[in-house]
Symmetry: C2
Subunit: 262 residues, 2 copies
């Protein structure tokens, strides 16, 4: 373990009220199509319940320059950035070092994390605490830890960036530790009205309805079910009363087009 003993102070920026979040998925295995990313959808739904919309998502390779450029851009632009992947023990796990680079800070073994991981590997029959696993105790200066009830190795928060594991169950455990750090807005909810009608049949009416409710985003999503094509109309927002009105209007729209809500 390194003998450097710089004093650690957390460098969390005052986090402003939400204008939204970005998700950054880090890993060659997603870009090759070998692994299907599901973290983006999970984080997006989880944030939606807190009223924090996801504005953008990116997937980058295990390449430091790519990670650094993406983190700097997203961190400057959005209230929060959530990253997944690249904090394990192997040579392609370069996320922690990349974050230190992105924020212009040093990185070293974190004494508390190092001790906790050493104790964990000594106590459990899960392998020796070798040099590779020690890498998981490397945390940038200025970061605060994100607990991980599943495997022990923590994530961390640096500035407005939450750095989490790529394994979905571990990432989800980390999110629970992140919740209290976020300034929640009103929860976003949605109403959906589906019918066996083509998108094109209701598009004009939907566009008119969007003009009537400019602050309630309306989406139209075609589907195929039981061999028939249909469309789901979705309205999103934080104002439940208004969403209720829109739902009635969507049902009227479907019926006026000769359909029946499913």
């Amino acid at each position: 373990m390194a003998n450097r003993r710089l004093k650690r102070k957390t460098m969390e920026l005052p986090i402003s009220r939400t204008r939204g979040a970005a998700i950054l998925v880090i890993g060659d295995e997603i870009l090759s199509g070998r692994t299907q990313d599901t973290n983006t959808g999970y984080i997006a739904r989880w944030l939606g319940q807190l009223g924090i919309p996801v504005r953008e998502a990116r997937v980058v390779a295990d390449v430091e320059a790519e990670i650094v450029a993406a983190v700097r851009h997203l961190s400057a632009r959005y209230d929060y950035v959530f990253t997944t992947g690249g904090i394990g023990p192997t040579h392609d796990d370069i996320t922690a070092d990349s974050m230190a680079r992105a924020f212009g800070t040093a990185i070293d073994f974190h004494p508390t994390v190092f001790a906790a991981l050493a104790a964990r590997y000594a106590a459990l029959n899960v392998g020796t605490f070798n040099e590779a696993r020690q890498r998981m105790a490397r945390i940038p200066y200025g970061a605060s830890l994100i607990g991980n009830s599943l495997s022990g190795a923590p994530g961390f928060q640096i500035g407005n960036v939450f750095v989490m594991a790529g394994i979905p169950a571990v990432m989800q455990a980390m999110l629970e530790d992140v919740r209290k750090r976020l300034v929640a807005s009103q929860a976003l909810s949605s109403v959906t009205v589906s019918a066996f009608l083509g998108e094109g049949t209701i598009a004009a009416g939907l566009a008119r309805l969007q003009k009537t409710y400019p602050d309630v985003p309306l989406g139209s999503y075609p589907f195929s079910r039981e061999g028939k094509f249909g469309t789901s109309l979705v309205a999103r927002g934080a104002d439940a009363a208004k969403l209720g009105e829109v739902r009635v209007a969507l049902i009227d729209l479907v019926r006026a087009a000769g359909g029946e809500p499913l």
Copy 2:
């Protein structure tokens, strides 16, 4: 139908030999977590078979400025860009107009597409060819069409950007029409060696192996199966002989660590 009759000429750029591709997924429904994106993985695997690596993927909202900025950036940086979503008939389908804006070209109804769609709606019992559906015939000047054997409405290629539907089956049909336009490289393939060993147990050996084979990217991906943790070691490349060598080395690595390849 518009009576403008500018002559259409395709504006395809000479496409250089691959340095790789980017994927741009367009749609609020992905960013809200309502819909699980699977197009990225499909396109990535499909391109991998052609030897074209995906370097980056992004998801942006149905917001013109976001789409335009992302397309311009990715189109300048990579050999190919593949977009999915936003070319349907509804008000939130703004991809075609955004592409025209990104490439600084005009957009109007494409006579051939308009006629084909009109004929299709007249012949099949799939609704009237109303104003909303006519929107699907809007194609930027300078674009060439991408056929769609499933639903009739085409995608298009503009510059090095392939603009495709969001519905997976339709997107996949369009990809088949894209294949002949791509300069394929040697197909990338991969070998995988999995074992019930922790990542940290084999990390040091894997890092050494990476140094021996610097041009064969090695990845390590933890998994949980039958209640046990394990690791898949993956090597990627176009050189089958070298991949064979690496596979043997990976098996040796696993056995030296006390594991047995699964």
